[in-house]
Symmetry: C2
């Protein structure tokens, strides 16, 4: 095999990362061994190390994977032309939470406490999501509350902050609720 085409290579990487996320959601970041990921992905240890420098690197990729997916969900609302009010926005976000990903997300927070690279990923994605939320809320203020754009942006900041906080708390509750009991899904 010569160097894989970029598309194929990316496919393998995400195949590994997705298997890792599944393992992590079951057993946590530190309790899943490379052997577990090997079994889950169907690939071998050697292969994994051809795509990721080491386990920490893989953890970071998994963190990015989960967070990006969450941000994407939000991105769709940001582009909507009928912006929902903050309460509605929040409950839609909450409805879109997947328990398994919530668990990995919360684990990621814990890891961010220790690993600077993961911390940067978490902070970056959080900021990005909050910015999107800010856009959503601003759009709502302008379109349905008839605020002037400048004033709306200003008012939106604390609201976006609150929505984000409530969303993250709900993420935590979902993770805790689904731990132990729900091995499926």
């Amino acid at each position: 095999m010569p160097r894989l085409t970029d598309a194929r290579k990316e496919l393998r990487r995400s195949q590994i990362a997705e298997a890792a996320v599944r393992c992590f959601s079951r057993n946590g970041l530190e309790r899943t061994s490379i052997a577990d990921i090997t079994a889950e992905s169907g690939l071998s240890a050697g292969s994994i190390y051809a795509h990721y420098r080491n386990k920490a690197d893989l953890v970071r990729a998994a963190a990015r994977e989960v967070l990006v997916k969450r941000a994407d969900v939000l991105g769709e609302y940001a582009a909507a032309d009928a912006p929902p009010d903050p309460d509605e926005l929040l409950s839609r976000l909450i409805a879109a939470i997947d328990p398994a990903e919530a668990r990995v997300g919360v684990q990621t927070w814990g890891e961010a406490t220790t690993d600077p690279a993961v911390r940067d990923i978490v902070v970056d994605m959080t900021d990005r999501m909050r910015a999107m939320l800010h856009d959503c809320v601003t759009a709502w203020l302008v379109k349905v509350e008839r605020q002037e754009p400048a004033r709306a942006r200003e008012l939106a900041t604390p609201i976006a902050h609150r929505v984000m906080a409530l969303y993250q708390a709900e993420l935590l509750y979902t993770a805790l609720r689904s731990a132990t009991e729900g091995t499926a899904s």
Copy 2:
């Protein structure tokens, strides 16, 4: 040494648990070895195992330690006879957050995702704190907002829920903010 008096025994246990918390706040739950705790506490491995069944048991004790301390802070407000309004309550709680304990708290959440015993501790303490918050808010509604007790209790529920969520989110932000940079304190 015969069996230590209960007070002394409890003292040793908390000496170990506190050292563990300090280690955890620096390096995370899984990256601190028994040797680290040995060094931090000044005790030996053998001694630690005389007081805790194993590392998981110690982690649970540390989790309980941190959460109970947090709940105690709140407990004082609950007993206050001049109950603050929810915003004030929240900002006082936030002001009382210690970065090191915030980090361990967040790590604990991640662990709760995987370890049922830790999960139970976290859920239990969260519920307890929310109940206290509920009492605080109810007292405020009765005393300064002049609501009838029954109605106040009803109104307090969603408010307490929100305050708790916002508090937890702030805990997360503090943990993330203080990670990496602040090795001191």
